[in-house]
């Protein structure tokens, strides 16, 4: 007699509309855009009310332990509503499409551009020092 399996079929994790996958895609895209000079990583933590907290950190292999926290997102286990906090503003959205639009506005902001360019400049300068050692 075959073993009984009472579990349903599960969706592949990537098929679930999670804001985290969108963040991971953007991390990969940044690496391509900066030719590996600036990378992005997700730093998770648990928040006191049981929600999830993820920091979106920029870093560069040339800058050692340095990271720049560009923004943070918090969301419940069911993913929405998700709150994105960048600089002094916090915005909450209800759907993945809204989150995509909000994320695009943050990534394309002049402040983000300035931060990424500053890290690229610093990484390039220190990389040159390293090479000339």
């Amino acid at each position: 007699m075959p073993a009984t399996n009472l579990w349903p079929d599960f969706q592949a994790p990537e098929a679930i509309n999670s804001p985290v996958f969108l963040l991971k895609e953007q991390a990969t895209a940044l690496q391509q855009k900066t030719k590996g000079l600036v990378l992005a990583g997700l730093r998770p933590a648990s928040a006191p009310d049981g929600s999830f907290w993820v920091g979106f950190n920029l870093y560069s292999p040339a800058l050692g332990e340095y990271t720049y926290r560009l923004f943070e997102v918090t969301y419940p286990p069911q993913f929405f509503p998700v709150t994105l906090t960048a600089a002094d503003t916090a915005q909450t959205v209800q759907t993945l499409d809204q989150f995509k639009a909000l994320l695009e506005s943050v990534l394309r902001s002049s402040r983000t551009k300035q931060v990424v360019e500053a890290i690229m400049a610093q990484a390039t300068a220190l990389g040159a020092v390293e090479a000339g050692k």
């Binding site: 006191p48 720049y68 560009l70 300035q114 931060v115």
Partner: protein
């Protein structure tokens, strides 16, 4: 002794006041929030009044905090962690031990409610722990306008800044442990600012605000704080932390004791000292002990 000053300038051109404060108190490390004074003007002013030569220690990409110091540039390690609202780097004063220096200006209550500010403190506290791990050092001092009071959840939550009012309790209870099967540990901070509430010693806080008028409101706040990890407690004395109310020439407060935001800043500066000198252990003493 290493001598520190933190002040939220509220965008005011207070170079002459800063010159008097740094000279009067022998400041080694000057940390500023909401500073709109250009670097050149600031250095001209700071270096006209006192001994030593101040220089600016620039961040990589952060914009909201400024750091000036009389210590050599080489005393400061590279920036470890950064965001718009904090900068974390190591500092080793001449002849001293290495510490992790955390400067912060967290989100304002005007822009964010208390719950959102609490959430931001979770990420801030995690960045501090990451920096301590990267530096291999937990002699950490946090300085800044945290925009929460010492009694707010963000300061007391173990996943937040986890900062308590009594240094002996901090030494005894650090780290706080939760869970039986899966134990979670949370390092504590000592928060000496608790001792500065109330009118036993003036002023009653660092920031006074009575315009929003909610029914539960302390009016006097201590948003500007200094937090110390247990490893620095034997290098700090309570008398070596003061909320300043004068630069020696002008009072920074009004006649009712509240910060004079019209003439100066609506926040008062914090002065503190840490004994960061390297201590030499003598073998003869150790054998006696």
């Amino acid at each position: 002794m290493a001598t520190f000053l933190f002040w939220n300038l509220c965008g005011r051109p207070l170079e002459p006041v800063l010159r008097r404060l740094t000279a009067r108190h022998g400041i080694d490390v000057l940390m500023l929030a909401e500073c709109a004074i250009p670097e050149g003007a600031m250095l001209n002013s700071l270096n006209a009044g006192g001994p030593g030569t101040f220089r600016r220690l620039p961040p990589v990409a952060s914009q909201r905090l400024d750091l000036y110091s009389r210590f050599d540039r080489l005393c400061f390690g590279p920036v470890l962690k950064e965001a718009d609202h904090y900068i974390i780097r190591s500092l080793t004063p001449p002849g001293g031990i290495e510490i992790v220096l955390v400067m912060a200006h967290l989100a304002s209550p005007i822009r964010r409610d208390l719950r959102a500010r609490h959430s931001r403190c979770i990420g801030f506290a995690q960045a501090i722990r990451d920096a301590e791990q990267a530096a291999g050092n937990d002699r950490t001092v946090v300085v800044g306008d945290l925009n929460v009071n010492p009694f707010d959840d963000a300061m007391l939550d173990v996943r937040g800044l986890n900062a308590l009012a009594d240094s002996r309790t901090v030494l005894r209870k650090d780290p706080r442990r939760f869970g039986r099967l899966q134990v979670e540990e949370f390092r504590l901070f000592y928060n000496p600012m608790w001792s500065h509430f109330g009118d036993a010693v003036q002023p009653a806080g660092t920031y006074y605000y009575d315009k929003s008028n909610p029914e539960v409101d302390p009016l006097w706040n201590i948003y500007d704080q200094v937090l110390l990890r247990p490893g620095l407690l034997d290098r700090f004395r309570s008398k070596n932390l003061k909320i300043l109310t004068t630069d020696g020439l002008h009072s920074l407060t009004r006649s009712d004791g509240t910060p004079n935001g019209d003439g100066f800043s609506d926040h008062l500066p914090i002065w503190f000292q840490l004994d960061l000198r390297r201590r030499v252990r003598h073998a003869s003493n150790e054998s006696l002990a």
